[in-house]
Subunit: 225 residues, 4 copies
């Protein structure tokens, strides 16, 4: 026999899976492109982000891509650094999305300064817990997409996973997708002549797992302390 507890949880699940009209609630994704180049320029990071978003679209996930460097993200660790700060606007978009796709190029084997700026601003989440000690991104799922001419993707994954996890994101298996060339190579992902199967496969895996996990957590939020 089922416990009362389990029945309650199932009912909660049914409620959460449906909106007021009884329909299925689709998921949304936000992709942050932490390229050093503004949106006037073609970006390899954009290419991989769009590939991941296309995979998510197969699961009816709707999405938007933000070119972060187009905005004035002021230095600091507060959620609003005052006049001219565009972070409050981006922050609202970040927290409205069920899935965050965090995209960064590699420079000197490491994530971009633009990526680090975003992570610093997310540091504020540590102090913005609710009465159950839950930070704002609790229940949201992160994917990290990295591109570079060469070496550095795993390290970028490691640093960004740790930072995003510290501020409340959940990370599904295979959440790190990437493309890099051979050691010291100089080709850009955006100029690859043919699709690179291994990256496309990893995009699929990261999208499928992120979607599955985001859906579960939306229906069953962390309960906190």
């Amino acid at each position: 026999m089922f416990s009362l507890y389990l029945i309650k949880r199932l009912l909660a699940l049914i409620r959460r899976y449906t909106n007021k009209a009884g329909g299925y609630m689709p998921l949304t994704a936000l992709a942050l492109n932490c390229s050093l180049k503004g949106s006037a320029e073609k970006s390899s990071t954009d290419k991989i982000l769009n590939e991941v978003l296309q995979e998510l679209a197969k699961y009816d996930v709707t999405s938007e891509v933000i070119r972060v460097v187009d905005y004035n993200i002021k230095p600091g660790v507060k959620s609003d650094e005052g006049e001219g700060d565009d972070w409050p606007h981006l922050r609202a978009k970040v927290l409205a999305a069920d899935i965050l796709i965090f995209g960064s190029p590699i420079w000197l084997g490491q994530p971009s300064s633009v990526a680090k700026r975003i992570l610093e601003r997310m540091d504020a989440f540590l102090g913005e817990t609710d009465d159950k000690q839950r930070m704002p991104p609790y229940g949201k799922v992160a994917v990290v997409a990295i591109v570079g001419n060469e070496d550095g993707a795993h390290h970028c994954h490691a640093e960004i996973f740790q930072a995003l996890n510290d501020v409340g994101y959940t990370i599904a298996p295979g959440a790190g997708t990437y493309w890099v060339g051979q050691a010291m190579a100089s080709t850009d992902y955006k100029y690859l002549k043919s699709p690179y199967d291994k990256t496309l496969q990893t995009n699929r895996t990261s999208a499928a797992n992120a979607m599955h996990l985001a859906k579960l957590l939306k229906a069953n939020p962390y309960e906190g302390l």
Copy 2:
């Protein structure tokens, strides 16, 4: 109205939450202590691991702690490195647990060689996917517990999160718990005279979130590709 799809999933959920006798299926945890010292010696890593397990026990999670260095984990990246290799035995325990608590001391700001040995052996999971491209740890949740006299915990979290995620683990928010002393200090966690509240609070958070996520994923496995 609910779709047929949703009803099927709810029925699957009910089946998975229950065993044949209709009872609730409790979760299990395995803690790997990657200390450089054998079990004859007192270990600071053991202390934090046991604290996390006590938190998990509040949710009826049963557990075991393994002192890895007591075993002969041969160098290599296969699941069985032949005669005398104790990894196949530990590997079975790792894969039987719903939650993995990965514990490492810090040396020179980095995880121990024993921790790295375990991660290398888990590299084999990359090639052990099922017909839906799922690695053996899919659906299992990892917590990383780090102690050191001083500085290095975030980096250990980053490296271990990335490696465990690469081989199929899911990571709940706040999955990194730790204690370190002030810069260049020499006190061990095991000799702290009084409990350190901030670490205890982080233990609670990581346990609560890991339990919630492991339960969800056990009932709702990743579907793979």
Copy 3:
């Protein structure tokens, strides 16, 4: 007997150790403070940088501290990113100094976005080699000074050492100095009530070794390929 080669080198050494008037050539240091706060605010990074510079001053090393965030360091990987870019000005100061003291606060266990911006701009050095394949910072010595409320210094050292080494800097033993508090602590270095002996000792070591090495390399430049 000494070889002609050795005699030539000794004469070169004597010439380099002296200026035209026959006097001793003193060394210079530049400290980059990669705090997120402008120079109107008190900075913990400033405190440790000044401590290191005081140690260098004992060896007659003259110095300057730059608060990087006061300047407009545009995103990019070229030595001049065009109108409004302050990097060309800072770059000239960086390359005029024999010793670089690279100072960064820790956020989420990692170097600041301001630190990463500087490293990205130094990426251009990779393409600015002379006819013997030597990058502009060849012969210059780096010290890395890190402060944070808590954990992250070793990782910051690692990332910054690697990036600076990639672009041509030499690193003397014990080049990483730092202060951090206990796990999850919130005290700032600038508010410590009494001097912290271990950090002061590390400052002394890093200064003594950097000075020794910078002097040697100024007198005996890398010969390149």
Copy 4:
């Protein structure tokens, strides 16, 4: 006019550059191969180590390669961990060499467990300072050679640079050499059909700079505190 101090230093330099018979003192290098495979097996790490040693040989540097996993390097952080420990033997070789070539394969984007074991044993150097606070490797120069099927070299450089620097090694520009394939590729360096120019060029640079620096430091030891 030259100061008495400078004359004394020059005389010391002359003495150090020569042995008792008045001849030039050649440098020595030790290469540690931290492969997971014993010396019965062909190793990609061996290939790059030998390439670096060939470059050093052009400067009359004599050398030896050690396959670390052939030895029993016991877990621990003391210079002698007792019966059966082979580290004291390797430690003597390490400290007899002017240049250390630290070679590691990449697994999951990170250095091998064998590499980490060596670094842990070197932790003991922190406590083995002389009366001027100099650790045993003061004056010795490190090169880090990394190979992997794919991504991870910069991170391995970063971690190993930091650890070796912490225990007293000096790092010349471009000290990190490496080869990796494209993202998720599976070819081994040892099976590359043709030499890879960029890695060979980096080998040359790292050898030339390490040799130059080791020679300088042998003639002009760090003076300590």
